[in-house]
């Protein structure tokens, strides 16, 4: 078997060098075509009629007027009379018309009567959940009662993190053309290789007959894996209108109502410790919702899993609101917040520096050495020991504070196939049916091929985003970079071996004595005997080399790995007169194995931290129990951080031989886990009291300052 292992750190010419993203200029000049920008010939515009009620039965539905409008090509009922809708935004009917304006007019002409039914749309007060609450069994480890009795200190608190939405800037949707027995699909998806199967199943069309193409996606964050009901309906509208392509993307309100969200998490938490800060027991009563399916328990106590005595109770609450989907590091941000906030409160009770408490208890984690080293590094960057003060000791109305948190994540690499083709004219084509979510996947694949073939990045023609290419996996769980780097490395090594075999006679050595470096094929240790890449490829005559490479997720070759830790620290200022929290500085130290492109890796962490700032200070799905409505299904009241709201962000990537040797590890998720916890802890440190629920809006901060926490 050829040697696929990564070149040694000091021998790499492309991998590990900060590299600008290859598709950057296409995006920044507006040339990049997202699926929502496509307009295949004859395209019709689709529009959805959705439920204005959180819970209702459809009494009657009359589409006749809509059907007879000029320019309307197809009308479909999705939820017929007699059926119930369980949340606002549920798809009821769909229309395809020659213009978008007509499609929207036609939706308004559909007459529908609802029998409104009782609803529950809020879960923050568990006492009001009634029979919508479903308790999971109690989990007990060790002897928590005894541990709490014998403790030197016990800290108690209530914590809450609300449902937030993905709020992808490109809304969910597809263009679908169902023509005869073939389906053409232009989706906005994290799953180009798999979404055709999802749509084919809904439409009862063989997967092989679905062709998928997507070059760019405007955000997914875990919410865009399937074709969804609206994708299937676009297909049916297309068929009903004689095979014309139908574009059906959600409007902003529907996007926020039904296209996925992150489950909430609320908890009453009690932690016991010895006077030296050693944690002895954890007890939590938690509840959560992810829509009608309820919400599972986040993994608490987070990271400190080996606390010897524990009692855990969790209740899932089913509410009449759009369902949860995977949200960048599912359940981890909630768990990190609940745990790190409770432990920071414990440190405050013990009058200890939380950095000391977290470090002291690191042996309860799976990677004590990593976290201790990272805390030390982060503290150095933040100047923690010089700047940290006990809770609420600042002077004046604006208080400054520091907080910390930690994260863990898996990674690994999904199943992936790649094809590398070397042509006699020297051109190189790499093909792989994957997607670049903006994480830099295009750049990473090109870098691996360039490194392997000894060529500059520009010599690699990369083709992705098309179901004709060898299948990769969905981009979820931070598994893409591990998968594509491994399959690309293997296909490129395989192709190069074939080239060596063709070139070896001309250089008078066996093929295994050849290497590819700096655009030449040369004899190992004898640079005087070499051929330029082009001349070497000419030896192929009229044939070309086309070789496959495959990543096996079980990772026999060790090119990638999984399991990382990271720590984060936040520095905030809080105006105790207005309740406004301002980000000063944020430090993220992340362990991430072999980094292929430090430039885009750093950008990923910046982005994750900023997304965490949004969750800590601004984002919240606000539901109104009176009307059952999602009050802020828009972007003016569903708040995201702006360019002036994020402070300074310092990223430290732990690039070192001991991490590098583990191989490639995905980075999309781990750094988004901790910011909410770190910022909440920094605010508690600044103002001297815990604001129990995030986001840390001015009203909540002021209420906490006035002692109105309950």
């Amino acid at each position: 078997m050829p040697d696929y292992s990564w070149p040694p750190m000091d021998k790499r010419r492309v991998i590990g060098k900060p590299t600008l993203r290859r598709d950057g200029l296409e995006k920044s000049t507006g040339k990049a075509k997202y699926s929502s920008d496509e307009k295949p010939p004859g395209m019709l515009f689709g529009a959805l009629l959705t439920s204005p009620h959180a819970h209702a039965r459809i009494s009657s539905i009359d589409t006749s007027e809509a059907e007879h409008m000029d320019g309307v090509k197809a009308v479909r009922v999705i939820t017929p009379a007699g059926q119930e809708v369980q949340w606002e935004g549920t798809e009821i009917a769909a229309v395809a018309a020659v213009t978008e304006e007509l499609a929207q007019d036609a939706v308004r002409k559909i007459k529908i009567q609802y029998e409104v039914l009782p609803h529950l749309v809020r879960e923050d007060d568990l006492a009001k959940a009634g029979n919508r609450a479903k308790a999971a069994g109690e989990q007990v480890t060790g002897d928590p009662d005894k541990a709490f009795q014998e403790a030197d200190a016990v800290s108690e608190g209530t914590y809450g993190i609300p449902v937030i939405t993905h709020c992808c800037l490109e809304s969910h949707g597809n263009i679908v053309q169902w023509d005869g027995d073939k389906v053409n699909l232009w989706p906005s998806t994290q799953n180009v290789p798999g979404i055709g199967g999802s749509l084919g199943k809904s439409l009862e069309v063989p997967i092989a007959n679905v062709h998928t193409e997507m070059q760019f996606i405007g955000g997914g964050f875990g919410s865009k894996f399937d074709a969804d009901r609206w994708g299937a309906e676009a297909g049916r509208l297309s068929k009903a209108s004689g095979g014309k392509p139908v574009k059906l993307f959600l409007d902003r309100a529907t996007e926020l109502q039904i296209a996925g969200n992150r489950p909430s998490a609320f908890a009453q938490i009690k932690v016991a410790a010895k006077s030296d800060g050693t944690i002895t027991a954890w007890q939590s009563t938690s509840w959560a919702t992810g829509g009608m399916g309820g919400g599972g328990m986040p993994p608490i106590p987070y990271v400190f899993t080996e606390i010897p005595n524990k009692r855990l109770n969790h209740t899932a609450v089913a509410i009449n609101a759009g369902g949860a989907r995977a949200w960048r590091a599912p359940n981890h941000p909630q768990a990190s917040f609940l745990t790190c906030a409770a432990l920071e409160d414990l440190a405050a009770k013990l009058k200890m520096d939380p950095l000391v408490l977290f470090t002291k208890n690191a042996d309860y984690t799976a990677r004590a050495g990593v976290y201790r080293a990272q805390f030390q590094k982060a503290a150095e960057i933040m100047e923690w020991s010089k700047r940290w003060h006990p809770r609420g000791e600042g002077k004046g109305p604006v208080k400054q504070g520091l907080g910390l948190s930690l994260n863990t994540w898996g990674g690994g690499g999904h199943a992936s196939q790649c094809r590398t083709t070397i042509n006699p004219d020297g051109s190189v084509v790499v093909e792989i049916c994957t997607q670049d979510l903006g994480t830099g996947t295009r750049t990473v694949i090109s870098m691996v091929a360039a490194e392997t073939l000894g060529l500059p990045l520009g010599a690699i023609t990369l083709r992705i985003g098309n179901s004709d290419y060898p299948p990769d996996g969905a981009s979820g769980g931070s598994t893409t970079v591990g998968g594509v780097s491994s399959s690309t490395r293997k296909s490129s090594v395989n192709a190069l071996e074939k080239l060596f075999a063709s070139v070896a006679p001309a250089l008078g050595v066996p093929p295994d004595q050849l290497v590819a470096v700096d655009g030449r094929i040369q004899v190992k240790d004898d640079p005087s005997k070499s051929l330029p890449w082009q001349d070497a490829c000419r030896k192929l005559g009229t044939g070309k080399i086309s070789e496959m490479g495959e990543n096996n997720p079980r990772n026999p070759g060790g090119l990638m790995s999984s399991g990382v830790g990271g720590v984060q620290m936040a520095d905030v200022s809080v105006d105790t007169e207005t309740g406004i929290v301002k980000m000063n500085k944020f430090v993220a130290v992340q362990d991430c194995g072999l980094i292929i492109n430090p430039r885009t890796a750093e950008s990923q962490i910046h982005g994750a931290v900023i997304m965490g700032v949004c969750g800590a200070l601004y984002e919240e799905r606000i539901m109104d129990q009176q009307t059952g409505k999602h009050l802020n299904a828009d972007m003016e009241f569903y708040k995201l951080a702006g360019i002036a709201d994020i402070g300074e962000i310092v990223v430290h990537l732990d690039i070192a031989p001991e991490h590098d040797k583990r191989g490639v590890i995905g980075l999309g998720e781990p750094p988004v886990i901790g910011p909410i916890a770190a910022i909440s802890n920094a605010v508690a440190n600044a103002i001297g009291v815990r604001v129990p629920h995030v986001p840390l809006t001015p009203d909540r901060v002021l209420a906490a300052l006035e002692g109105r926490n309950a």
Binding site: L25, S28, G30, K33, E170, S603, M611, I643
Partner: protein, 214 residues
């Protein structure tokens, strides 16, 4: 940013202006708006001194990137939808569709506007500059700076940011870091690219000082 004779054009806040205040301005929009979307004739009173258009499609001419383009749209069609759905100029994106996020930013008579909240018929007779029109034989320095500083991830907000940054730099050629934070606060990004965007705008300012780009 000066403002003369353009009270009907919803402009983006330069700094710290609340989006709510902006929407108030946008609400004044065009008097003809009512003719397109309101079904009760009584509400569709003609605007004083104006001409009644619609409710059906009307021919209009838009001067986009220096070239007149004729199209037929209903009066209720926004400039953004005219660009995207009728002219296949898809650099400007539809995201919030109500003047909050800036993904649809274009430059109208030298000022950045949210094209989702300008009616296409109201943009007649004005100079409309879109992302497709700012790069000529070589990419505009703002576009290049966004690449050099990795001020983009998924890229869906990027054309809007680039246009907002260009308009900002046209009016503020020597901004400080703080100016950039204030000047670009009318655009939102979900991937979290603001660190790169701030650096990109400062780099572009330096590049553009030579005056090679109008």
């Amino acid at each position: 940013m000066s403002s003369k004779n353009d009270s009907e054009v919803p402009r983006k806040p330069k700094a710290g202006v609340s989006r709510r205040g902006f929407i108030g301005v946008a609400g004044i929009g065009g008097g003809v708006l009512g003719a397109g979307i309101l079904e009760k004739p009584a509400l569709a009173a003609p605007p004083t001194g104006g001409q009644l258009a619609g409710p059906g499609p009307v021919p209009i001419t838009l001067k986009i990137n220096g070239k007149p383009q004729t199209l037929t749209v209903e009066p209720r069609v926004t400039l953004l939808d005219a660009l995207r759905n009728y002219l296949d100029l898809t650099g400007a994106k539809r995201v919030c569709d109500r003047a909050t996020c800036g993904a649809c930013t274009v430059i109208l008579n030298g000022k950045s506007v949210y094209s989702c909240t300008v009616l296409a018929i109201d943009a007649q007779g004005k100079d409309i500059q879109t992302i497709e029109g700012i790069s000529n034989d070589k990419p505009h320095p703002v576009s290049v700076a966004f690449v050099n500083n990795d001020g983009q991830q998924c890229g869906y907000c990027t054309p809007g940011f680039v246009m907002a940054a260009k308009a900002f730099l046209d009016h503020n050629p020597s901004p400080t870091y703080e100016d950039v934070k204030e000047g670009l606060c009318g655009n939102l990004c979900r991937c979290g690219t603001y660190v790169g965007v701030r650096q990109a705008v400062l780099e572009a300012a330096k590049e553009m000082k030579g005056g090679r780009h109008a």
